[in-house]
Amino acid sequence: MTPMVKVSGLTKRYKGLTAVDGISFEIPRGAVFGLLGPNGAGKSTTVSMLSGLIRPDAGEISIEGLDLWRRPLQAKAAMGIVPQEIALYPSLTARENLKFWGRLYRLGGRELSRRVEEVLDLVGLRERANEPLEKYSGGMKRRINIAAGLLHNPRLLILDEPTVGVDPQSRRAILETIKELNRQGLTVLYTSHYMEEVEELCSLVTIMDRGRIIASGRVEELLQLVMDTEVINLEMARPLENGALLEGVPGVKGVLVEENRARVMVEESRKNLAPVIEAVTAGGISVLSVVVEKPSLEAVFLHLTGRGLRDGG
């Protein structure tokens, strides 16, 4: 069976910067494919190319076996796009917005009305559908942003950081909706810089950094990379100026300092936890709390790049 998406050698350059640098991947039908990477990694640029918005400088994209740039209308009709920005009309009501976007996806008449109500139910906003979007909370706008991408029953749904700036309740609702749609057979491409989301949602993960793919595979496979590494989260009375204090402590593979907190990657934490705390205290900083994390995709990223996901590059 042809994969839903096949990308090879995809490249996009801006003046003096290669935003996406020759990446290749495949998304099998029915998968939830996670594109994980810090801000500026090139996720949105990749999505823009996949959705036919910007032309790549090199490389090929096929959607269900169709070359995107040769058959753009057919390929686009198969995709539902949920952009990173809330690309809707704030003065129009949710229903008016959805009707407009549905028409752009060639729906009309009764079918359009029916689908509008269905997606409103799906995102749980039918009761408030006649209010202008500018009265909505951030999370509600995000849900309509997603609903607009689902109107035409796409076979592939591409979501670009759909949970940014969303309250925990809306985030949960969004993740559950995506899971449910996937159970019904929808293929999903999900980009995020939240590793928890990607871990929860995605069967396949590709990690991007600075325009390149630095790792990809099933979540369990990636976690194998850091199986013997754990992250110790330290909270201290004052900031650790740098990681130098911890240099040479046995088992420490990397340190990430964030104000009063430090994330220390160590091998065999059970054995090496005590020396780490001792080293910090010896430097005259008192430790307020210690939490040891299970291996995570964040640790994978830290392991591969020496940087955190959230503080980007």
Partner: protein, 399 residues
């Protein structure tokens, strides 16, 4: 469904504008208030009631058609009431009187005019207007133009009769009978009556209805330009380009949106000013044609602003600048006919000037569809050219 995409985009743009209360107030209520205020304040430009300057004429023609203009046409009640005709033999000093504003206009019919009309030579009537080319001078010009038009239709008849070898003794009676049969006779009277009655006392209100209508038409289309750029910034334009629609359909939709909004706004101003202020816009087909052409021109300007501006605030600023400059130069603020000649010439690059020139013909000189054909053509062609330029600038939007 696909072919309708531009239409849906245009409708959506209209809906977005209708929900924007502030924009609606600016684009609909403000011009009506300004028509009222300016129409009342600047009424003095039109009040030539005290001793209207005479219309001078010099008739060097020995035949019947020269004299007919002054003895019959200007003797029609509607014209006689308004114009004092004074004969002159000295063209030079007469022209000086017109130039200095002491006479409203000078009409000159050269020697051999009637003969030329009969024999097919060059038959020409000259009209000089005062420097401001006041409304009165325009009416005189319109009357003469219409007279010339009627004569040229006679000339066709004379020529045809001549070519058929029907000259000689019987020529005039035959020709006149034929003209009568063709019912050309009553039309002279009728047409001239209408021309003259069209607006001998042009209302300041009428002028400013057209002036503000055109100015706010520009304001509308450039506001739509701002909204277009906003759409680019808000990424909704990108989202449209991600849908299964071609960039061409989307750009066409945006064009249609600008045109539709402009047309609707202008129609509201025309209707509202007609109903509220009793503005008489003139011949309906003429107004419809000229209004549509003006909307086309204004849409072109709006689209070009949208294509060139990078941010909504530059688009708004550029739109306002273009609107105000064109309006000031093109007669929307200060009437065209009181501008010095140089300014009048310069105003020809503005949308306002062409549109107002046409609307004045319709309002004050009894003009119809044909009399505004030139203005409409200039506006429509300019609009199309600007739209093409804009779509050329926007062609890279998808990549």
């Amino acid at each position: 469904m696909r072919g309708l995409i531009p239409f849906y985009i245009a409708l959506k743009d209209l809906l977005v504008l209708l929900k924007d209360k502030k924009a609606l107030l600016t684009l609909l209520a403000t011009p009506l208030v300004l028509i009222l205020v300016l129409g009342s304040a600047f009424g003095s430009f039109w009040s030539e009631k005290a001793a209207p300057s005479p219309v001078l004429y010099c008739n060097d023609d020995q035949g019947q058609w020269g004299a007919f203009l002054f003895e019959e046409v200007f003797a029609l009640p509607a014209l006689k009431e308004k114009f004092t005709l004074e004969e002159t033999r000295d063209l030079e000093s007469a022209r000086e009187l017109v130039r200095s504003g002491k006479a409203a206009a000078l009409i000159h019919i050269p020697a051999g005019f009637s003969a030329a009309l009969l024999e097919g030579g060059e038959a020409r009537i000259s009209v000089w207007g005062d420097p401001g080319s006041s409304v009165r001078a325009q009416v005189v010009r319109a009357v003469v133009e219409r007279y010339a038009l009627e004569l040229s239709s006679r000339r066709v008849v004379y020529q045809t009769l001549g070519e058929l070898g029907l000259g000689g003794e019987e020529f005039y009676p035959r020709a006149e009978r034929l003209l009568e049969a063709l019912q050309l006779e009553p039309r002279i009277e009728d047409g001239l009556q209408r021309t003259a009655a069209g607006g001998m006392e042009p209302e300041a209100m009428d002028y400013y209805a057209a002036a503000m209508g055109v100015m706010y038409l520009l304001m509308t289309t450039t506001t739509m330009a701002g909204k277009f750029v906003q759409e680019r910034q808000d990424r909704t334009l990108a989202r449209m380009l991600q849908a299964p629609a071609t960039p061409r359909q989307i750009i066409l939709g945006k064009f249609m949106g600008v045109f539709l909004t402009g047309a609707l706004q202008f129609a509201v101003i025309i209707l509202a000013s007609a109903v509220i202020f009793q503005v008489s816009w003139g011949s309906l087909p003429g107004v419809a044609l000229l209004a549509a052409a003006s909307v086309c021109g204004a849409a072109g300007i709006g689209m070009l602003v949208a294509a060139l501006a990078r941010t909504p605030s530059t688009a708004d600023a550029a739109g306002l600048f273009v609107t105000l400059t064109m309006s000031a130069l093109g007669g929307s603020m200060y009437p065209l006919f009181v501008m010095p000649p140089l300014m009048q010439a310069a105003s020809k690059v503005t949308l306002n000037s062409w549109a107002l020139q046409g609307f004045m013909k319709l309002m004050f000189a009894g003009g119809d569809l044909q009399s505004v054909a030139l203005e409409a053509a200039v506006l429509a062609v300019a609009g199309l050219v600007l739209c093409l330029a804009a779509s050329y600038c926007l062609r890279g939007e998808a990549g």
